[in-house]
């Protein structure tokens, strides 16, 4: 539709090259022809963000084949398993890695440059016959507790999200949105769709780095941006260290994807007094945003002396008009205002569906596994994951994997890993250990290198406590909230 309305208007800028809506549509139509000819069951992207991500997303939709952007940061063994699950696929990006990890998958692979050049040349695809309930996008969850689940988003889910949140062609020609989230994240997909539908020019930053972000925002006169809290933390740190960029055109910054530390958002509100901040809460399974804390709420909370108002800065705001949100107890009963429970959501944009199973209940409600509560005025607050996953800079970490490694140490009798507040990462790892009778506690350095050597550096604890015993309830269940309280 954007290409119909204004084919020559610039829709996307990446690495200094500019693409009009007309040329993006033409390339997507050519890409669809290539995809269909390949006979693939999935279209995948194994690459940083670029114009190829937009062409692959819309090309796959025209060809009627599910689009599966893959996390290029995954370890070889994990990525190999995912490649086998989508075989045979049409894959754009790191050909060498695909061929090395899944040589028998029957995949058709193209480098980014080959894909873009061939898509521009190929016969335009007229658009596949529309099938009811067709799958638009398949995203693998991070899979910290088990094998990654394949979340399915149907065209109807994504369309409902876009129609519910964006007015077609509503952006003025000056508006430009800086997109620095990776293409395999739901926010990376929704940013492409929302920006193109509103006709807000997309400024793609292939790999986030704070100085590159500041430079691109200034050079292309960005008016909007979406960041995860960790990105905002790094941008603020660079500016506090003296980095300067002309961000005079910046009007709106939306953030989401993890817990926003209160100190960080307050600092950002001071640093950017004329920018409207929006906290967007959503999940992969809900086609992105389901609740919003808007610019006015941010400023009102920031200025207020009333503790209830001030606390709203930590809220994710109110549900979109097109979705319903409830907080329920462990038996599934709706909880009253102020009580903590699990967040449930319902609406047409909510897929709540995996390739393996559907997670919606009979009435269409999706249990998010996020814990939270709603205040008297309807503002939603998050209170960690219902299943206690640690979310460090957008990366989900299962406490169990860290505890298992700690328990291999000869002097450790018991161990718990929990989320601790972190200004840089939103959450980081804290551990509490109990030493065997008659033994001396290992040094903090020893515990850190044990984790680092067996797992990844993101799992290394920031905080360590040595206890006489861990807190358990009468059913023998570890009381993680009491462990977390040690690190407040």
């Amino acid at each position: 539709m954007a290409a119909d309305a204004e084919p020559d208007r610039i829709g996307l800028v990446c690495d200094g090259r500019r693409w009009s809506y007309g040329s993006l549509l033409r390339a997507a139509q050519g890409a669809a022809t290539l995809m269909q000819k390949s006979g693939a069951t999935h279209v995948a992207l194994l690459d940083e963000n670029s114009e190829a991500a937009a062409m692959a997303l819309f090309g796959a939709a025209l060809a009627g084949i599910p689009y599966v952007p893959l996390n290029y940061r995954l370890a070889d063994a994990d990525l190999a398993a995912l490649l086998a699950r989508i075989a045979p696929a049409f894959i754009v990006g790191d050909q060498a890695r695909v061929n090395r990890l899944n040589p028998d998958g029957g995949h058709v692979t193209l480098s980014r440059a080959e894909f873009v050049a061939q898509a521009e040349q190929a016969e335009p695809h007229p658009g596949a016959e529309e099938v009811d309930g067709a799958i638009a996008v398949q995203l693998f969850t991070s899979g910290t507790t088990a094998a990654p689940k394949a979340a399915l988003l149907r065209h109807a889910n994504l369309l409902s999200y876009i129609l519910g949140t964006v007015e077609f062609g509503s952006a003025s020609p000056e508006e430009a949105a800086l997109v620095s989230v990776p293409p395999y994240h739901i926010a990376g997909i929704s940013a492409l769709m929302s920006s193109i539908y509103s006709m807000r020019r997309i400024l793609l930053l292939p790999a986030f780095e704070p100085d590159a972000w500041l430079a691109l925002a200034a050079a292309e006169r960005a008016t909007n941006a979406f960041v995860v809290p960790t990105m905002l933390s790094r941008i603020v740190a660079r500016m506090d260290a003296g980095a300067r960029a002309d961000l005079g055109t910046l009007q709106a910054v939306a953030y989401g994807g993890g817990r926003m530390p209160a100190e960080l958002i307050e600092r950002a509100l001071e640093l950017f007094p004329d920018v409207g901040f929006t906290n967007a809460y959503g999940l992969t399974e809900t086609s992105s945003t389901i609740a919003l804390l808007g610019p006015d709420d941010h400023r009102a909370a920031h200025r207020s002396a009333d503790p209830v108002m001030r606390a709203r800065l930590a809220s994710v705001g109110k549900p979109l008009p097109t979705v319903e949100i409830e907080v329920r107890d462990e038996e599934g009963r709706k909880l009253p205002v102020g009580e903590r429970g699990e967040i449930y959501v319902r609406g047409e944009q909510v897929s709540g569906e995996y390739k393996e199973r559907k997670a919606l209940d009979n009435d269409g409600w999706f249990p998010t596994r996020d814990a939270g509560w709603i205040d008297a005025d309807g503002y939603l607050f998050l209170a960690g994951r219902a299943d206690d996953v640690i979310v460090r800079g957008g990366e989900n970490i299962s406490p169990g994997e860290i505890e298992d490694v700690l328990m291999t140490h000869p002097t450790i009798a018991d161990a718990a890993a929990v989320a601790v507040p972190s200004v840089e990462w939103g959450e980081a790892v804290g551990i509490a250990v109990v030493v065997r009778p008659g033994q001396t506690a290992p040094s903090e350095d020893e515990l850190r290198s044990l984790i680092k050597n067996r797992l990844r550096s993101s799992r290394v604890p920031e905080r360590i406590a040595v206890l006489n015993a861990l807190p358990y309830n009468e059913m023998g269940k570890l009381l993680r909230r009491e462990v977390r309280a040690l690190f407040r």
Binding site: M1, D4, A5, E130, D132, H155, A156, L163, T165, V166, E167, F168, G169, S170, A177, A187, S190, A191, S194, Y197, S198, R200, N224, F226, A252, A254, G256, G276, T278, A280, G282, S288, T289, L292, G294, P295, L320, P321
Partner: protein, 96 residues
């Protein structure tokens, strides 16, 4: 008609996609819309010539029918001689 169905005007360039389906016949410019445009274009009824706008959503009084205009034209949309109205869009801050 069902959600996702596309309908074309017989008298102008208007094309709509069904968002919420109802068991009714939709007219554009006073003439019935259909999946395919007729070979010869009809004449727009002056009573239904206010035009359609791309990207706007049109609903009936009861809110049971909702159409998204994907191509603009000179005719306007109606059901049973009653004009459809523009759906109010509540602006939300950009969230992605």
């Amino acid at each position: 008609m069902k959600p996702g169905t596309k309908l074309k005007s017989a008298v102008c360039d208007t094309e709509v996609m069904v968002i919420k389906a109802a068991d009714v016949a939709v007219d554009c410019g006073g003439a019935p819309m259909a999946a395919e445009r007729p070979a010869e274009r009809g004449v727009i009824d002056p009573a239904f010539a206010a035009g359609t706008k791309m990207g706007k959503r049109y609903v009936d009084e009861a809110g049971t029918l909702e159409l998204l205009c994907v191509k603009a034209g000179q005719g306007s949309l109606s059901v049973g001689g009653v004009a459809l109205k523009l759906k109010d869009a509540k602006p939300l801050p950009a969230s992605d």
